[in-house]
């Protein structure tokens, strides 16, 4: 045995460290690349195209931003939508996404690979997913260990819950906001662990980015105060918490108010009240502690009673005054629905009708989270186990060892403040993801983190068993060899004892199971990416029985017809789902779009669709409509058509115009049908007429009568449809989009 050298110069140690670091870097790089590539399925299967509906507006806004610059964008008044009201885009949009797209655009130009705006928008989602992988690693490294960080990074690269909203082409707020969320949480965790105000500044800046990116910033500004409250209740209040929270609150709120959409909400709305309340509470606690340290016991107890009484009275009065005078607005519809899930369905049909706002179904949880949803509870248990018995030790004595121990325990306790945050984040997002499907996105990262923690802990324990056994094995073998060499003649009558114990076999089997589970997880995510979340919606693919693909491109066909065959200033009426696509792709003025900010305007459109042609014509002329566009799935079997959405039009229209009653549109038995037993008002409505015009003459399926609606599986009820004020302008290839021109009669 040579004399021991310092660790830094020991060659085996250095090689070991180098290998460790390289492996870590390689794994992270691999995870980033996988996160990037797995989001390109739709580009490979279809083409480089923007998906769905909302991203089209973001794309059009990014085009405007890149073309016209920051000042014109933030002062943009959009006249081509919500005719005749228009839309002030600056204060009604979250600009973070446009800034990010512009950053990618200008960066690509800078490095000499210029891309057009559409491809810059395509790249944003996968690139930000790679960033999310890195930041997840940093978070878990800060609260647990590097190994768990790597597992979490690999899991979040592919988890379907996150991928669903961040594929290449799904250019919407969520794709950058999850990165902003995790960035804010990372800096918050570090600022609580160290109390360093630099981290608080970073938290505030990330929060600014988050507030610019997504309406979900309300989640952060309520989760962090909730965390502070829980910390105080659990006895973990400390100076670091105060410093971190007050600095973050002041800087973060001020920064978030710089965004026009947020404007003065942080000081006026009820959604921000919790953070202000905690801010005041922390200040009060700190003030009390200050006087507690300064005053003697009796002075303090005398003073505290007076102060508490005064404070309670003043706070109650202030809150009552502010709430009753209306100065503090209550929680608005979308967010109130999270706390009172049945509220929207009975009071605000528009919010209830959005498919993303529905509560989450059980299969959806498993599909989006897979392995992480199963191991989540185990992770929570491990976190609680680590947090147990974490009382800070003070004044155990002055011996060097005692002091070192104390320092270590206290350092561990400081570090665990971050772990506590992960716990609060996990449980809170678990509740909210159950209330609203769209918030699965917020659960996905923390599910990965917690699952990684569990897997890391379990794997560590299992590995320890195995390596201990093998070390014992090595020693045992060597001692046996030594013993054998000493004895000359040894009879091997004794059966050699089993060198491998039961625990080791179980451990190896368990480790293998974990690996297999992770492989299954990976396979599931890959499958989910390729089939479920890669459809651009605007283009669809059908597979014939012989396996060949039919591309349904009716939407773009119709928009292209509109773009080339109508006047530039023509106005198109359609249901609000298609508004963004119409303005971005067809470049025509629309009446209502997906922003749904004006309920009565949407109700007017809904009423026009639900009324007879004679009743609807005055509305059409009043709104200067030139073309009407409807989506019809009866010929092709496309299920997202306007007939299926029609009852929402009736409900929303009926909410503002009482003459539209939902029961008139249902059959005598209360069912929603399109055949002869359909509701009488429905059969004569404009929507029915436009969808089924000339349909009664078509033989859609053999052995069925003419006018057989393929999607709903019945023969339609009214085939003799003719128009007095409309004429058919265009019907797409599979009759999915039908466009009608409004005749401008002189007599009107």
């Amino acid at each position: 045995m040579s004399t021991s050298v310092p660790q830094e110069f020991d060659d085996t140690y250095r090689v070991h460290k180098f290998l460790q670091r390289s492996l870590k870097t390689l794994i992270l790089l691999f995870a980033c690349i996988v996160a990037f590539i797995i989001r390109f399925f739709s580009v490979v299967k279809y083409e480089s195209i923007i998906h769905e509906f909302d991203p089209y507006f973001q794309y059009r806004a990014s085009q405007y931003f890149i073309k016209n610059g920051m000042y014109d964008f933030h002062n943009w008044f959009d006249e081509r939508t919500w005719y005749p009201i228009g839309r002030i885009v600056g204060p009604t949009v979250y600009p973070g996404l446009m800034w990010s797209a512009a950053a990618v655009y200008y960066f690509m130009e800078f490095i000499g690979f210029p891309v057009d705006v559409r491809n810059a928008c395509m790249i944003v989602s996968p690139l930000w997913a790679s960033f999310t992988v890195l930041i997840t690693y940093k978070i878990v490294k800060a609260v647990w260990s590097k190994g768990a960080g790597l597992i979490a990074a690999m899991m979040i690269a592919v988890i379907p819950g996150y991928m669903s909203r961040s594929v290449a082409g799904s250019f919407d707020n969520e794709c950058i906001s999850i990165f902003a969320l995790l960035l804010t949480f990372y800096f918050w965790i570090r600022s609580v662990q160290t109390g360093n105000l630099f981290y608080s500044v970073a938290t505030a800046l990330s929060y600014f980015y988050m507030a610019s990116a997504w309406g979900g910033y309300v989640f952060i500004i309520n989760l962090i105060p909730l965390y502070v409250l829980v910390m105080i209740v659990f006895g973990r209040y400390s100076d670091r918490l105060f410093a971190a929270y007050t600095t973050f609150y002041i800087l973060g709120i001020l920064l978030s108010m710089q965004i026009q959409f947020v404007s003065f909400m942080p000081v006026q709305s009820g959604e921000h009240l919790a953070s202000f309340g905690m801010f005041g509470f922390c200040t009060v606690i700190e003030a009390v502690l200050f006087f507690y340290r300064l005053l003697t016991k009796e002075e303090f107890s005398r003073a505290i009673r007076v102060v508490i009484a005064v404070f309670v009275v003043v706070a109650a009065v202030a809150l009552a005054v502010a709430s009753y005078s209306g100065y503090i607005t209550p929680w608005t519809g979308r967010f109130y629905n999270l706390l009172h899930p049945t509220y929207a369905k009975s009071h605000i049909p528009i919010i209830a009708s959005v498919s993303e706002h529905q509560p989450t179904a059980w299969p959806h949880f498993f599909f989006d989270l897979h392995l992480t949803s199963i191991i989540f509870p185990a992770g929570i248990w491990f976190i609680f186990a680590k947090l147990k018995n974490q009382r800070s030790i003070v004044n155990v004595g002055t011996s060097k060892q005692a002091l070192a121990e104390e320092a270590e325990v206290n350092a561990e306790r400081r570090r665990n403040d971050g772990l506590f945050f992960i716990l609060v984040y996990g449980l809170a997002s678990l509740y909210f993801s159950g209330v609203m499907v769209r918030l699965m996105l917020v659960l996905a990262p923390v599910a990965c983190i917690i699952c990684a923690i569990a897997l890391d802990k379990v794997s560590q324990n299992l590995f320890t068993v195995v390596t201990e056994q093998f070390t014992a094995l090595k020693i045992g073998v060597m001692s046996k060899i030594a013993a054998h060499e000493e004895k000359k003649a040894s009879s091997n009558k004794d059966k050699p004892k089993s060198l491998v114990s039961k625990e080791v076999i179980v451990s190896i089997v368990a480790l293998a199971t974990i690996v297999i589970l992770l492989l299954i997880y990976g396979a599931h995510c890959l499958w989910a990416a390729s089939t479920a979340y890669s459809s651009p919606s605007i283009v669809m693919a059908w597979y014939r029985q012989d396996g060949s693909v039919v591309m349904i491109d009716d939407f773009r066909e119709a928009y292209s017809w509109l773009r080339h065959n109508t006047d530039v200033n023509a106005r198109v009426m359609s249901w609000w789902d298609y508004g963004y696509q119409l303005t971005a792709v067809a470049n025509r003025t629309v009446l209502v779009d997906n922003n749904t900010w004006n309920n009565s305007h949407i109700a007017t459109v809904g009423t026009a669709m639900s009324s007879t042609e004679e009743d609807a014509y005055p509305i059409l002329r009043m709104l200067d409509v030139d073309y009407i566009l409807v989506v019809f799935g009866g010929m092709s079997g496309f299920s997202g058509d306007d007939i299926n959405k029609f009852l929402w039009m009736v409900r929303i229209g009926g909410g503002v115009f009482p003459r539209i009653k939902e029961k008139d549109y249902l059959s005598k038995r209360g069912e929603y049908r399109v055949d002869r037993e359909a509701g009488p008002a429905f059969l004569t409505s404009l929507m029915y007429s436009m969808c089924y015009y000339d349909f009664g003459k078509i033989q859609t399926m053999s052995q069925r009568p003419a006018g057989f609606d393929v999607l709903r599986g019945v023969e339609i009820g009214r085939k003799d449809i003719s128009f007095k004020h409309l004429e058919e302008a265009y019907t797409s290839d599979r009759w999915i989009i039908r466009i009608y021109k409004v005749k401008k009669d002189e007599s009107f």
Partner: protein, 106 residues
Amino acid sequence: MDTSKGIWNRYRTSTPGLIQTLDLFIVFCGVMVVAVFGYGLVFTTQPFNAFISAIFATAGPLFFTISLRMQILNPKEFNNMSPEWAFLSYLACIGLLFFVISSFLG
């Protein structure tokens, strides 16, 4: 009266001079917050963005200085942060705060 004099003397003797200066600044900022808020209540809060900027410009340094005070008095709690580093982070906070306020003031 005697008790408050006793408290005052205890405060003057037990806290270091630097901290007493910081405390004075804290009290000053507190007075300014009350003054700005009182002006807003009595006269007007318009233009609102200027009012908010004023509130933050006085309340911000208040809380940053409280945090700085804590970091200097109790560095063990803050992972053994040196006072110089604490002051630098304090400057960063003040810098960002007034940078934003100068734009928000209108």
